[in-house]
């Protein structure tokens, strides 16, 4: 295989590229994988191109490609490959490789902000400015790129309430609790005040008080600096979002899914009983989480609550809720199958990812399927320590 040995990369990277090339050198470049990719409807150029770049030995182009990070590991490409190449695993190994050798986990939004900033620098035109502003309103702006986008920033800050700072008063810290854990809420959860409060409330039910940073912001970029300063003394940080877990891990902060910690705690504490709002549920852990661990946590909770976890869903580990970079892009084959399965089982879908919850709700609306989609605190609670009973169905 003609993989040019690029001395700019460590031997391990070059070797891994050779191995990858051997695994996909029978590729016909038929494009079926890209055609099938649920992430591919818009800016994504697909796995086919990445495979081609692997085969031509373009290490730099592959590892720098943002496409790599738009993959949600849904596995559709592997499923449709006419040559039986495990495309999804190739991409996942590439991400691991870049991660190991000095790269960073990238987020498409960050890229978009980069693009906006670069465009502004080159051509301070009104459409670029508008694009940049739009990104910044959404909270996506790179701190290290503000120089070029300074003028845009000023406008943005004027437009934003509280000058760009997010109000944190909505979160309700639990009144009582035996343990205090540092909690990082991320960007998505605080947008849903009710859910945000619920997380605190349910955690309190488990005897956990969440010590939450007031201005956590988005895990991926603008607040990266603050994450370190906020939690430098803490051993680990607890989160309610798999995207945050991944990003924080990347910055060197040990992040643990709060839900895993809570179920583990319930399993250890005697006398703590979990209760669930229905007799059975369909679990969904999404693409970003450590799926086995997340699924196991749901399983433990189901056992403790005495409810059935419907796991015979065919592509449980192959899911894609339909989101790309947190943006809903329509129901996918995987999410459609999941929701149809839930309808068939007359069970709600319970997810450990707050992004998945919203995307699956959108998908259910789109498909006109009557399926309740619950984030874990909307479904489980610990009763013994719970301050009050609450049903949400």
């Amino acid at each position: 295989m003609a993989v040019a040995a690029d001395t700019a990369y460590p031997k391990a990277v070059v070797d891994e590229f050779k191995r990858l090339a051997e695994e996909c050198n029978i590729c016909y470049q038929c494009g079926t994988c890209t055609s099938s990719c649920p992430s591919g409807r818009e800016l994504y150029r697909g796995p086919r191109r990445l495979v081609r770049l692997i085969l031509s030995g373009e290490i730099e182009a592959v590892l720098k490609s943002d496409d790599l990070w738009r993959c949600t590991e849904c596995g559709t490409c592997t499923e449709v490959c006419r040559m039986d190449i495990d495309v999804a695993s190739l991409l996942s190994r590439l991400r691991k490789l870049e991660h190991e050798y000095g790269g960073t986990i990238r987020c498409p939004e960050r890229t978009a902000a980069d693009v906006a900033a670069a465009r502004l620098r080159k051509q301070p035109r009104i459409d670029n400015l508008r694009f940049g502003v739009a990104m910044m309103v959404e909270g996506h702006f790179p701190k290290d790129k503000v120089g070029a986008a300074e003028s845009g920033m000023k406008i943005v800050k004027q437009m934003l309430p509280l000058g760009g700072k997010r109000a944190a008063g909505e979160a309700v810290p639990a009144a009582r609790g035996t343990t205090t854990l540092p909690f990082y809420a991320g960007c998505a959860l605080p947008q849903d005040h009710e859910l945000h409060a619920l997380v605190h409330e349910v955690a309190a039910g488990f005897g956990v008080r969440l010590d939450e940073a007031a201005d956590a912001g988005c895990c991926g970029h603008p607040s990266r600096g603050t994450v370190d300063s906020l939690f430098s003394s803490a051993e680990r940080v607890y989160t309610a979002c798999p995207a945050c877990d991944a990003s924080l891990d990347e910055t060197g902060v040990e992040a643990v899914p709060l839900w895993n910690a809570l179920t583990e705690r319930a399993a250890r504490a005697s006398g703590m009983v979990l209760r669930a709002s229905t007799g059975s549920f369909v679990p969904y852990v999404g693409c970003l989480a450590d799926r086995d661990a997340a699924l196991a946590a749901l399983g433990v909770a189901a056992q403790q609550a005495g409810v059935t976890m419907e796991v015979d869903y065919p592509t449980l580990h192959n899911g894609c809720c339909g989101a790309l970079g947190g943006m809903y892009r329509g129901a996918t084959k995987a999410s459609t199958r999941l929701l149809e399965f839930a309808v068939e089982k007359h069970a709600p879908v319970v997810t450990t990812c707050v992004l998945c919850r919203d995307n699956l709700r959108s998908a259910a609306r789109e498909l006109k399927l009557d399926v309740p989609i619950r984030f874990w605190p909307e479904y489980f609670r610990a009763v013994e320590y719970a301050p009050e009973e609450r049903t949400d169905d």
Partner: protein
Amino acid sequence: MTFPNGSGPDRPLVLLCECAGTLKNIDFDRLEQHVGLHADVLRGDHWCSRVGQAQILELMETGDGRQLTFAGCSPDFAARRFQNLMARGLQLEIADIREGCSWVHGGDSGAVTDKAGRIIDSSIAYPDALADTVSYAERRNTVVVIGGGVAGTQAAAELAQMGHDVELVERRAFLGGRAARIGTVFPTNDCGQCLPTTDAQAGTRKCFHRNVAIDHPDLSIRRRSTVEAVTGHPGDFQVSIRTLPNMVTDACINCGTCETVCEADSSEPGKKAIFSEFYDGRVIRTIDLETCTFCGRCAEECPVEAIDFSQSPRRTTVHAGAILTATGCEPAPEKYFDYLGYGHDGVVTQVELAEMLDDWAAQASLGRMPVEELVMVQCAGSRDQRHLPHCSRLCCMIALKHAIRLKALFPEMKVTICYLEMRTAGVGYENWFLDARKAGVEFLRGTPPEVQFDGHGRPVIEVEDVTAARKRVLRPDLVVLSTGMVPATDTEKLTQTLAIDRDKDGFVEILDRKNRATETSAEGVFVCGSAAGPKALIEVNTEASAVASEIHNFLTSAGRRGTAASQVDAAQCVGCDTCSTMCPFGAIMLIDRPESAPRPDEVKDDGKLAVIDAQTCRACGICAANCPEVAITHNLSDDALFGRIAMMTEGVEKPVVGFYCKECAGAAIGLSGQRRDRYPENVRLIELPCLGRVSALHIVEAARLGAAGVFLAGCAEGRCQYRTGDTSALEQMTIADEVLAESGTPLPLELWHLCAVDRLSVGRRIRMFDARAVGDELTPALFDHEMDLIGAGAGALAGAPAGAACGGGEGRGCGR
């Protein structure tokens, strides 16, 4: 040293050739003296000269029948030079002291002359058996041709014209096969129902119903017939054929009254139980026996009383010399492409589109366009590891044919072809590709994983346009799947009946993908046309003619001579099945041991005995090499082989023994010798009929006699002329390696695959192996020398580690 053939008046005669003075490193006086000890020697300047040949002719006429040994050039070269004499009955034992000695060695006259003496000695002492030969028995003149499509019918007609009796067995009621039933065919854009004629109007072609070649008196057509069982052996098969009655006799005048009164439907879509199909002119209608209710109305209404329900199925046994499989292929079933939405409205196959096209042409003439946008999906289920891994070869051209037709009928129609690769390799095919482009057909490189449907049930195809690297969403009115071809129904069963191999795609496996496209793994059973993989009509026609000649050649080979078969010694055979399973030609059978046959002590009365069929045996020696009891005698006996090894290695310090087959490896080594590519004199070569002849015993014997290394050279990988000789040799080499390692005397052993192109490299390979075997490191001098020979120049890679190139190249080695 004893010479079984040479003493007293029976002293062999050696024609010692000086090859016009080109064998400079041989001291001929000394050589003559050495050979003269046990043979009479006639020295000649070059025996192949006009004068020399005249002398030999004289010897032949006046000679006393003494064994003649020619010591000179290689057997291949000598056979050419003495071609005329050999045709007149000259029998020469050939000792190769030119390509095999003088020309490949350096100036050490002593060592080279010694070696030449050994080569001549071993030729005299252990001649290549002036072999007993076997004559092929008379073969039956009849050929059973299975399949009455274009391939089978044309081959049958040609065979009949060549004078053979032909039984053409067709499963359906009508000849013509698939080609005749479809509409127009590429690349001529006319119908597919004609065959070449050869008799009345040579050079013309005629439809099946007009082609009198099929009516040859020696060609009998068995319709609605299948081959049930085959017994016997090549040249004399007993073929059991089952025939269902047609019920409609040849009195039929094609008035169609029967169809109008029939009330039962056929299993063929849209047809009654009494129906007509492709018009081959000989049978006009038939009855579907599975759906017919036998009400008898058709028979009552038939004005010519052509319907005869009293006919019944019958079985016949035909004695045939050869069988031809021409069963063709058929469109892949739905399971291979249903992932593309097949079964849903708006998705059809090319076959279905072909059926719709006539109707569409009628619509076009009325100014109507049935669909506005049409997408063809190529490789639908083909070239796909999960479905059909093979390329069906016809689908690209079929798509082009249909696309061009569509654009001709409906210039406004948007036709898109989603393709993986367009394969238009064939005479005139590329023009179709260009024509389609000119007609405005869009070619989109990329194949979709699925066909979805929108709320109105209209197909939606999301596909990457690979060349543009972006996604496209197509919303055609009709999706046409270019689906692949699979072997015809029951091909698997038929191949089992005929005991022939199938390839991994299920088609009949051809014997050799380069040279023998019409033979199968079983001798006497042939194949042509799409039964061996989808083909266009031009290829089918060509193969039909080729196979007819091939079969004719096979059936008329009686009396031709082959090498004598190996023999089983009943007193040694214990009746294990090693030989019968190893034999690549199925020539060995285990029979119940006759009372009268001798048997080894440990064999009980009910033991089995191996018997070799002399007509089928090709004398490769694989059975003899693998027999655990050494009970099989090959024409080149173990005694002769052991004797040659001993004679060739005696007195040599650290000899390296090379066994090579006389086929492809022999060609490489012989040609290398003609290039005078030198290697050391301690390399001693022993020629075998096939590398499969070598057994672990021979290798161990060489080691016992002091060999420093043994290499085996056979035909190119996978190309053994006797099919499995190289794999057998590899197994034997592994056994020898284990034995030698256990006894604490490991030896470098290697197996090489050679063919004539290796003439350029085999010399180096031998030198390298020899250096390693005798323990020489690859010295800088040797390295530079080799680099010089390669042409890379001395020191071009100075600093390369010693021994770096000494790993034995591509050889399968287990030396260390």
